[in-house]
């Protein structure tokens, strides 16, 4: 397994073009956050951008494997199909964790520097984002293992957009107090976050774990079936 993980990491960070794509995405997201400087921007960053990084890592490595047919060749190695899929999940989760930690490090700047958000709200949004991104990773990885890299990236990006629209619509439908500002529409994210109880995070955490384990098992099945065909 270590060899496959190392290979994937080389592809992500050792090849200039791929590294530029990854860093570029992080920088663009950072810029967007600091330009918008509102709670909605921070919420969207957590809930949408983190999953994008994790499925982007899978897209880059899967596309490379498909192009060079390494996805078939790797079966000559002493590594099971189950572990090959596990390697992809490990890298996705680690990348997601790294981005989440980076965002966590930004929170003091947003709270004490720009004073755009309260600490408790920021932590709740960050926590929600962690759970949500694990669930999004669970779904998008199944999509990739079902359809391959090209269709997978399209469907995962589409899912991300649908979720973003749905997230905004839910806030509109259930919370009618909308404050329009000169910058972006300022939605009542704080109200949503204040209403969420600690139990919601526990349930969400359990759902995240169940989701990722279930996703892995489904992905292994899909991967084996795809190879058999």
């Amino acid at each position: 397994m270590k060899g496959i993980i190392q290979k994937d990491l080389y592809e992500l960070f050792g090849i200039r073009e791929n590294l530029a794509n990854v860093l570029g995405s992080i920088i663009i997201v950072g810029i967007l956050l600091f330009v918008t400087r509102d709670t909605l921007g921070f919420a969207l960053l957590n809930i949408l951008e983190i999953p994008v990084f994790s499925f982007m890592t899978l897209y880059i490595t899967m596309e490379s494997d498909e192009k060079s047919h390494f996805d078939t060749y790797q079966f000559v190695y002493p590594i099971s199909k189950r572990n090959i899929v596990l390697c992809k999940y490990i890298i996705g989760m680690v990348c997601q964790m790294c981005i989440s930690i980076m965002i966590l490090c930004l929170i003091p700047i947003l709270v004490y520097g720009y004073k755009m958000i309260e600490w408790s709200v920021a932590m709740k949004i960050w926590g929600t984002g962690m759970i949500f991104s694990v669930l999004m990773l669970s779904i998008s990885y199944v999509i990739f293992f079902s359809f391959g890299s090209k269709v997978g990236i399209f469907l995962s990006a589409l899912l991300d957009i649908v979720v973003m629209i749905g997230y905004v619509l839910v806030l509109t439908v259930f919370y009618d107090k909308i404050e329009r500002t000169d910058s972006l529409l300022e939605w009542n994210v704080e109200r949503v976050v204040y209403l969420s109880s600690p139990m919601a995070f526990v349930v969400g955490g359990v759902a995240g774990v169940v989701g990722i384990v279930g996703s892995y098992m489904v992905s292994v099945r899909l991967y084996q079936r795809k190879l058999n065909n």
Binding site: S64, P78, I79, L227
Partner: protein, 286 residues
């Protein structure tokens, strides 16, 4: 006797192609040449034995272990070289070495660097910048650097220049010298196989037409050039097939010693693997 490969009733169906009832027992420490025309099933057989495609079989023991139970252990002692590389073309031999060193327990980085030096492969040159021959040499270096007990080559020698081809054949002889290591080589370059193989397996339309030792093939099979009257006087069970030529017939016989006693004036030529293939594919039956 220890068998490196012991396969019983292997079958595989994919669309309109079938591997049918493959039974193969090859002792340890030999070089097996698998030959057959394009589409005969050579690569499919290899992929079945590697678990790349899901074949059905009664038993499949490789290196003395049951494949379905110990696949990853078996593959620790196997190395496979195909006709091209599957590594990311942006990788260098150095990066590939680091990756593969984490995959095989027996990986020897010093041995790998020695092979790179011997084959004159630059460590830090990207794979996409290497010629086809150098890429195949790199694959060979990777394969040999974790001390495999079974080396499988599937059309791997196509890109070799004549000088390296001889060196490669010598490397294979060294590899099997201690009789604990074995080689399976699928190749269309039958002249290479004639120089080196101990066993020949001939595949035709998804079946194993025969598996013989090379010595047995050379001592039993022969080519006779004769007229029609002689052809008609040969026993059917001794004739594999014949090919009509401009001034007579060329006949492949499989009992040349006995026939040479009966037909003492018949001149018998020794066969090569290419001859066997030609007669099995293009020859007519009596």
């Amino acid at each position: 006797m220890d068998y490196v490969i012991d396969v019983k009733n292997l079958n595989y169906t994919y669309k309109d192609f079938q591997l049918k009832n493959i039974n193969l027992q090859i002792p340890t420490g030999v070089i097996l040449g698998v030959v057959g025309e394009n589409g005969a099933g050579k690569s499919t057989l290899i992929k079945s034995m590697l678990g790349i495609i899901p074949a059905n079989y009664e038993t499949m023991n490789i290196l003395g272990k049951e494949f379905s139970l110990e696949e990853t252990n078996i593959k620790q002692d196997m190395a496979v070289i195909f006709d091209k590389t599957y590594y990311n073309p942006m990788f260098t031999p150095l990066i590939i070495g680091k990756i593969v060193s984490k995959i095989y327990k027996n990986w020897d980085m010093n041995m790998y660097f020695k092979y790179l030096e011997r084959f004159q492969i630059p460590k830090k040159k990207k794979v996409k910048e290497l010629s086809k021959g150098m890429v195949m040499k790199l694959e060979f270096a990777i394969a040999l650097s974790h001390s495999p007990k079974l080396l499988i080559l599937d059309e791997a020698t196509n890109g070799f220049d004549p000088l390296f081809r001889e060196e490669f054949l010598e490397l294979l002889r060294e590899f099997v010298e201690d009789e604990r290591c074995s080689v399976i080589i699928c190749s269309h370059i039958t002249s290479d196989l004639d120089k080196i193989v101990d066993y020949v397996a001939y595949m035709k339309e998804g079946t194993l037409a025969f598996v013989k030792t090379y010595d047995e093939m050379r001592s039993n099979y022969g080519i006779v050039r004769c007229k029609k009257q002689v052809l008609e006087s040969l026993w059917e069970e001794d004739v594999v097939s014949y090919i009509k030529e401009a001034y007579g017939y060329k006949v492949l016989v499989k009992n040349k010693i006995a026939l040479s006693h009966v037909f003492s004036d018949l001149e018998m030529e020794n066969v090569t693997i290419e001859d066997i293939m030609l007669f099995y594919e293009k020859g007519e039956r009596l």
